[in-house]
């Protein structure tokens, strides 16, 4: 206790703490503001993260070359729109599936029409692109496309599209028989200015043609009218004709990559501008495009009960000399009902020509009109187009005497009635002639002829004839003697005469020579005569004016 007392006594020296009046008491400790602020900041971060979290999309590519999860960006016009979060292989290992998180705003414009592709460094005929990605690494970019249904699964393009939604201009469709040397990126020219390019090509659904998509940049797309013709301007157009050699080409690029040109035929004026995505025909070359060409075609079937020798595929179908179409197919068919062979010819006619001629109306009207024409004898027949080669053509014409025919359909094509060819008629007549010849008593004629020959032989072998021949021989001998006599006596004289004649001719030639004395004299004489004639004329003139001088003589000069 003493210790404690001592302690206490020690503690007595401890000064008293100063007491202050009590301040306002806060029941709420201000320190709680710290976690409150933390909560606010944390909450704001969470809200921001959630509100900025955009759609998560997947894009499939053939390869993930240059792509890295967590690093590769998705950019549009160099604005970051998202980031690749994962890359994995598809289940069948054929593609890679890239998962990417986009920003919130992206939700508004990604749709089924959005296209994604990877920007890498590329080197091609049309240029070099994406060099910046050599350092920065590849990135994915997109073309929003037209608004459409929202989707979060996309198929990435392997190559950058040539046309993006923000590029002003118009797309047009072209239909061609084959691809030619055209490729994606092939240029399109208008008056030799490059105004666009081929964006896409694919086989038509029926497999009969190729459909190209071309993009014409603004403002040139306004020059595409409904009557504009497109033609393939690939490579070099080399032509050798009566006008000489002609070489046509658009540009070096079009030689390498192919190209398309368009324009309006010179005979036509531009009509209404074409709608975007309008369909045009792609002609094989400029000449074909400038010619009058028809694309509306229909098939019809012709049956012939005769030889079609000389009728080739591609042979023309003509109506009054105007080509209306061509033969597509010729084949032999067997008609089991009639137990007879026939030739089935498939032809293609440019129906547009009929329409152009005024053969218009709706389908029913046209059908009726056609039936009427058939009733008037509208028929097809084989005609020899070339007498030398025997090539046949099919001619349409009116044959009022033709047996009546109806229009039937077969495989969706009209069966057009035919009439036998004049050639066949001729051959029938010829056969008749042959038959008549056959009916002639040829054997008897032959017998008579033989008898005649026999008689002639008898005459020839008769002694009178032999005698005559002997006499003839003697006469001939005499004639020969006479001729040899003539040769020995007359010929030297003739040669002498000829010699003289030549000398005379030589003399004459010397006389007529320009420097021959006779010639000179002749010239002088002629000049004298000319002078005399002049004097004579002067005299006559003088006498005319002064007839009195005949009596009085020439008076003194006045």
């Amino acid at each position: 206790m003493s210790d404690s007392k001592k302690d206490v006594s020690d503690l007595n020296n401890v000064p008293e703490a100063e007491v202050r009046s009590r301040k306002r008491h806060f029941s709420f400790s201000i320190v709680w503001l710290v976690p409150l602020v933390a909560v606010l900041i944390g909450g704001w971060l969470v809200f921001k993260a959630l509100s900025e979290k955009g759609p998560e999309i997947t894009i499939t590519f053939k390869s993930a070359d240059g792509l890295e999860a967590g690093k590769t960006k998705i950019k549009y016009k160099d604005v970051q729109l998202g980031q690749v979060s994962a890359i994995k292989l598809s289940e069948d290992l054929s593609t890679v599936i890239v998962t990417a998180e986009l920003v919130k705003e992206a939700e508004n414009f990604i749709s089924v029409n959005t296209r994604f592709w990877v920007i890498r460094a590329r080197v091609g005929v049309s240029g070099v692109s994406g060099l910046g990605t050599l350092f920065s690494g590849a990135y994915i970019t997109l073309d929003p496309g037209k608004p459409g249904n929202t989707t979060h699964h996309f198929k990435g393009l392997e190559l950058p599209p040539l046309v993006t939604a923000d590029l002003p201009g118009s797309l047009f469709l072209l239909e061609a028989d084959n691809r030619g040397s055209l490729d994606i990126g092939s240029p399109v020219y208008y008056r030799k200015i490059q105004v666009g390019q081929v964006v896409e090509y694919r086989l038509a659904e029926d497999g009969h043609s190729i459909h190209f998509k071309v993009f014409i940049n603004a403002p040139y797309h306004a020059y595409v009218y409904q009557n504009t013709r497109f033609w393939n301007a690939s490579g070099i157009d080399f032509k050798l004709d009566t006008q000489g050699v002609r070489i046509d080409t658009e540009s070096l690029v079009s030689i390498m990559m192919g190209g398309i040109s368009f324009g309006i035929p010179q005979a036509e004026a531009p009509n209404t501008p074409a709608e975007p995505e309008a369909m045009f025909r792609l002609f094989r070359n400029m000449d074909e495009a400038k010619e009058r060409t028809y694309w509306l075609k229909s098939k019809s079937i012709l049956y012939f009960d005769e030889s079609v020798r000389g009728l080739d595929i591609g042979a023309p179908v003509e109506f009054w000399g105007i080509q209306m179409g061509q033969v597509l197919d010729v084949k032999l068919v067997f008609d089991s009902k009639k137990e007879d062979f026939r030739i089935r010819v498939v032809v293609e006619t440019e129906t547009e020509r009929f329409y152009e001629a005024g053969f218009i109306g709706n389908d029913v009207e046209r059908q009726q009109l056609f039936v009427n024409l058939l009733a008037r004898g509208f028929r097809a027949q084989l005609k020899t187009g070339n007498l030398l080669t025997g090539k046949q053509t099919i001619a349409l014409d009116f044959f009022p005497d033709a047996p009546p025919a109806t229009l039937t359909m077969e495989d969706g094509a009209a069966v057009f009635p035919t009439v036998p060819t004049p050639m066949e008629e001729i051959s029938t007549k010829f056969m008749n002639i042959l038959q008549k010849i056959d009916g002639l008593p040829i054997e008897q004629i032959g017998n008579d002829l033989r008898d005649t020959v026999h008689g002639a032989k008898q005459i020839a072998e008769s002694p009178e004839i032999l005698e005559s021949i002997k006499n003839l021989n003697a006469t001939l001998q005499e004639t020969r003697l006479l001729v040899s006599d003539l040769r020995t006596t007359v010929t030297p004289e003739i040669s002498a005469v000829l010699e003289e004649a030549r000398q005379s001719l030589d003399n004459a030639e010397q006389m007529l020579n320009a420097d021959a004395p006779l010639q000179v004299k002749m010239n002088t004489a002629l000049e004298e005569i000319g002078g005399a004639a002049r004097s004579m004329r002067l005299l006559m003139d003088y006498l005319e004016r002064h007839p009195e001088s005949l009596l009085r003589g020439k008076g003194p000069t006045e």
């Binding site: 009046s21 710290v34 933390a38 909560v39 690093k71 910046g132 350092f135």
Partner: protein
């Protein structure tokens, strides 16, 4: 009084925080100042538990963005790469630099979490007036004080890198928002450790002894 331990508190004495002068307490609720230097006097750190709790909670909240958000963005040859603390650790592990990975992991992830857990543990035991191993608990507190400042290593590394690596297009490093939150976590845990009064651990012992 089984123990002869005399504490300032049970002797009615208060020590000044600034000049450490002992003075006699006026009463449990009185507001006092030091008679020598005029500093406010407290028998114990005021609102120690409340403050520590508040700061610990705040540190926990900030710890989430500190780890989720990237702390640096490295732009090298135009290719940008942003890293969080954990992705940096994983990067170093993948590239075989185990010691560096360990240092970053300990300094940036292990230590802050350890500190927060120790503080929470101490707060709970003090509030429950637990008598469990006060010595060990005090040792834990000492650990938090000593180790806490080392968490700033990460921030220093980031600041030095940002300042040093400015090679234009070749390479540059920029600090990102994660660094700010991480810094906030470290600073707030330092304050939390400071605001905790370890004497509270022993007060329970004393009060029960009385």
């Amino acid at each position: 009084m089984s123990h002869d331990i005399k504490t300032a508190l049970n002797q009615g004495l208060v020590s000044c925080h600034s000049c450490h002068l002992l003075s006699r307490s006026a009463g449990p609720d009185a507001i006092m100042t030091c008679p020598r230097c005029g500093t406010r006097l407290h028998r114990r750190k005021p609102n120690s538990i409340k403050r520590t709790w508040a700061l610990v909670v705040a540190a926990f909240i900030f710890y989430i963005p500190a780890n989720v958000l990237p702390i640096t963005i490295v732009v090298s040859l135009g290719q940008a790469q942003s890293d969080t603390i954990m992705s940096g650790v994983i990067y170093f592990i993948h590239s075989g630099m185990w010691p560096i990975a360990l240092v970053i992991f300990v300094a940036s992830i292990f230590v802050p979490v350890l500190k927060l857990i120790i503080l929470v543990f101490l707060l709970i035991t003090v509030q429950r007036k637990s008598r469990w191993r006060p010595k060990d608990r005090t040792r834990l507190y000492r650990i938090t004080e000593v180790v806490g400042r080392w968490s700033m290593v990460d921030i220093f590394v980031v600041t030095i890198l940002v300042a040093l690596v400015k090679l234009g297009g070749l390479a540059s490093i920029q600090a990102q928002s994660g660094a700010v939150f991480f810094c906030a976590v470290v600073v707030i845990t330092l304050f939390a450790a400071m605001s905790f009064d370890p004497r509270l651990i022993w007060d329970t012992e004393e009060s029960l002894n009385e």
